[in-house]
């Protein structure tokens, strides 16, 4: 087991644990912080795979923008911590039974699938190609750009439209014609307080 594998197992186990704890944790602030932790772990996994651009984008967007936004929202909202143990007990037997069955099935199939290379005994087995000479040695960002702006132009544009819909929706859902309900900052009161 080389260093790569050790690091991989370390990061992925922390990722799994923290993402489990996000759901279990009752206090929302803690679960947001755990979300940040899981994003950081996912980033380090991406670094191990040498896709630096994706990793940095993950950090910048998910940790830098979205989780911090969540934190601000939760700080502002005055959420009461309510225990959900009652509901958990009510749904525990059947929900967990179904979930466990599903999980075990998936795990069985995954372990079976990746135990051996299924092509080993067939004529489809790969012969050795030195991929290093086949690949262009360009940076991550360049490669992404080359794919995105040549093969996937319509998809890229549609993703832009999705963002536009999100903007329109945010305006529609938050903008109210009556000014009464909007809480605004009164600078004078704040300073003279």
């Amino acid at each position: 087991m080389n260093l790569d594998m050790i690091l991989f197992y370390f990061f992925s186990s922390i990722l799994l644990l923290s993402s489990l704890l996000i759901i279990i944790e009752i206090n929302t602030i803690y679960s947001i912080l755990l979300l940040v932790l899981s994003f950081v772990m996912a980033t380090s996994l991406l670094f191990l795979l040498e896709s630096e651009f994706m990793a940095l984008i993950f950090i910048i967007i998910y940790v830098g923008a979205i989780s911090v936004l969540f934190l601000f929202v939760i700080i502002m909202l005055n959420v009461k911590i309510t225990s959900s143990i009652k509901d958990t007990l009510k749904y525990f037997p059947i929900g967990n039974f179904l979930g466990l069955v599903f999980l075990i099935e998936i795990l069985l199939i995954i372990f079976e699938n990746y135990k051996t290379n299924s092509y080993t005994n067939s004529f489809l087995f790969n012969f050795n190609i030195n991929w290093f000479y086949k690949l262009d040695s360009i940076t991550d960002l360049k490669a992404l750009g080359q794919i995105l702006y040549t093969h996937y132009v319509p998809q890229f544009l549609i993703a832009g439209i999705v963002l536009l819909i999100a903007v329109v929706g945010a305006v529609v859902l938050t903008l109210s014609p009556k000014k009464v309900y909007i809480k605004t900052q009164d600078t004078f009161r704040q300073v003279s307080r």
């Binding site: 995954i110 079976e112 699938n113 299924s118 996937y152 998809q155 549609i158 819909i165 329109v168």
Partner: protein
């Protein structure tokens, strides 16, 4: 070493092909010209609306009606462009992520016509509900864009993005009336469940990508060229199925199917739909109920009939169980409903069950019957929801959107023509003989029996008889209720009356001459089979 040389040559050939493809791609833009036109005009509508309704010198005009008319105009132009785009052979474009065949063009035409009629129907309702902001129409147009894109998606990424465009706008349409608790609640519910099912879709497509190395339906078809229906059941016969372990791929299918069943509101995944139909504005509900089903089924057909046709036998049991379950749920739970909207929601669940039953046969006839059934479903939905929206009660409480069954008491006294139309459509939905609904339902049962699924056919026929009860109960309320006083309704606008009459006469004409429907749906099902 010889193999290596061949491999190298093949690679060179492939490289040439990609270069050629990139040169050709300038021509490809003309293929998605209707979509480009559609999106650009929506963007212009946004600019137009935003600049005009914040204009102080014009005293902040209400432009919602004019935007709606402009939207209809855009849809008509897009329809003309789609018709003009006719291609007789199948072509796939943009690195074969977008496909253009008869199925695409015909379904786009259907969706555009259906949305034009929907937009015509909702105009008065929007004025009554005082939905004065123009963004409502924009969101509807965006949803239609997502739907017509989904018809031509030949790639999991494109399909996901199209579903996302459509469902994001649908969440917003559900939550649009901010001062109503029901509307916001249904919007939130729709958002949470929709996001959940979208993430299921992503998980499934990532599993498929992980096992096959491609997200493209065309490539998947090439990858499993050896597979034919049933080949995975008889493992000894197929050399390939011994080599490859495809169980993980099947898990990908499972997640994908769950997400699509969520979107189609089929039986174990249907619980959201009556709530959301009931809570959101009726003008949004008409879109949720009518338009998206066709393009979601097209995605299913492309997935299981084109690219993974060999695997359909592993999933037929799943399809049949889900279909029969949703038929049962739709017909039994509908008996309890007193509100028309949730009744129609359950009715749509059972209709989706019939469509999935036709799909699960996996034959060409089944697909043809599926499309003809969906077309008639859209037609009857248009008629029923337009009548529902245009019959506005004359009382002081105009904003009451949801109608009980008792709101239609003795409609025959106050508006007898509308009562006849309404009851005819309901009878067609139930499947009575002198109407087109009978013909398509009969065809579904025929195609199911022909593929020897006798048990499910029997259950669905019995459930169809049971579900007739709640359709006929509405007719009883319309005609024979013992009440002294009926309700008075506002007069119906000329264009609404025209569209409702048009839909109504189609029911009878299509029964007398079902060849039109037959040929149209046959043209739609001529997708390229791998065999």
């Amino acid at each position: 070493m010889l193999i290596y040389e061949i491999f190298k040559n093949y690679e060179m050939l492939f490289f040439d092909a990609t270069i050629k493809e990139s040169i050709m791609s300038l021509n490809e833009v003309s293929i998605i010209f209707p979509e480009i036109f559609f999106v650009l005009s929506i963007l212009f509508l946004i600019l137009h609306g935003a600049l005009l309704c914040t204009n102080k010198s014009k005293n902040y005009p209400l432009i919602q009606n004019s935007i709606l008319n402009l939207g209809i105009l855009i849809l008509i132009f897009t329809f003309i462009l789609v018709c003009n785009n006719l291609i007789l052979l199948k072509y796939s474009f943009f690195n074969s992520t977008i496909i253009m065949d008869n199925l695409t063009i015909s379904s786009k035409q259907c969706i555009l016509i259906a949305s034009i009629i929907c937009l015509l129907a909702i105009q008065e309702y929007l004025n009554d509900q005082k939905i004065n902001s123009f963004e409502y129409i924009l969101l509807i147009l965006f949803a239609i864009f997502g739907l017509i894109l989904l018809c031509s998606a030949n790639d999991l990424i494109t399909a996901y993005l199209a579903i996302e465009v459509q469902s994001l706008s649908f969440y917003l349409l559900a939550a649009y009336k901010k001062n109503s608790v029901f509307s916001t609640e249904s919007g939130l519910k729709y958002f949470v469940l929709g996001a959940f099912s979208s993430s299921m879709f992503l998980l499934g497509s990532s599993l498929i990508y992980g096992t096959t190395g491609t997200t493209n339906f065309e490539d998947c078809k090439d990858l499993f060229f050896y597979a034919y229906p049933g080949s995975f059941l008889i493992e000894d016969c197929n050399e390939f199925s011994q080599i490859l372990n495809l169980n993980l791929l099947q898990f990908g299918f499972l997640f994908l199917l769950i997400s699509l069943f969520f979107k189609l509101a089929l039986a174990p995944f249907h619980i959201w739909s009556p709530d959301i139909y009931e809570g959101s504005l009726t003008s949004s509900t008409i879109f949720f109920a009518i338009v998206p089903k066709l393009s979601l089924f097209i995605l299913l057909v492309r997935f299981f009939q084109c690219s993974f046709y060999g695997f359909i036998d592993n999933w037929r049991y799943c399809f049949v169980i889900v279909a029969v379950l949703s038929i049962i749920v739709g017909s039994f739970a509908g008996l309890e409903q007193r509100k028309i909207k949730s009744l129609l929601a359950y009715s749509s669940i059972s209709h989706m069950g019939y469509s999935l039953l036709a799909f699960s046969t996996g034959t060409l006839e089944g697909i043809q019957v599926l499309f003809s059934y969906l077309l008639i479903y859209i037609l009857s939905g248009l008629c029923i929801w337009s009548i529902f929206l245009t019959l506005r009660l004359k009382n002081n409480y105009l904003q009451k959107g949801n109608k009980d069954l008792s709101d239609f008491v003795l409609l025959v006294k106050s508006n007898s023509v509308m009562a006849i139309f309404f009851s005819t459509v309901l009878l067609s939905l139930a499947g009575f003989p002198p109407l087109i609904g009978f013909y398509v339902k009969l065809n579904i049962f025929l195609s199911v029996i022909e593929s020897t699924m006798f048990f499910s056919a029997t259950i669905s026929i019995i459930c169809s008889v049971i579900s007739t009860f709640y359709y006929i109960r509405i007719i009883k309320v319309l005609y024979f209720e013992k009440g002294l006083v009926g309700n008075l309704y506002h007069p119906i606008k000329y264009k609404n009356a025209l569209t409702i009459g048009f839909c109504f006469f189609l029911f009878i004409i299509l029964f007398l001459n079902p060849n039109i429907l037959y040929f149209y749906s046959y043209k739609m099902c001529l997708i390229e089979y791998p065999l």
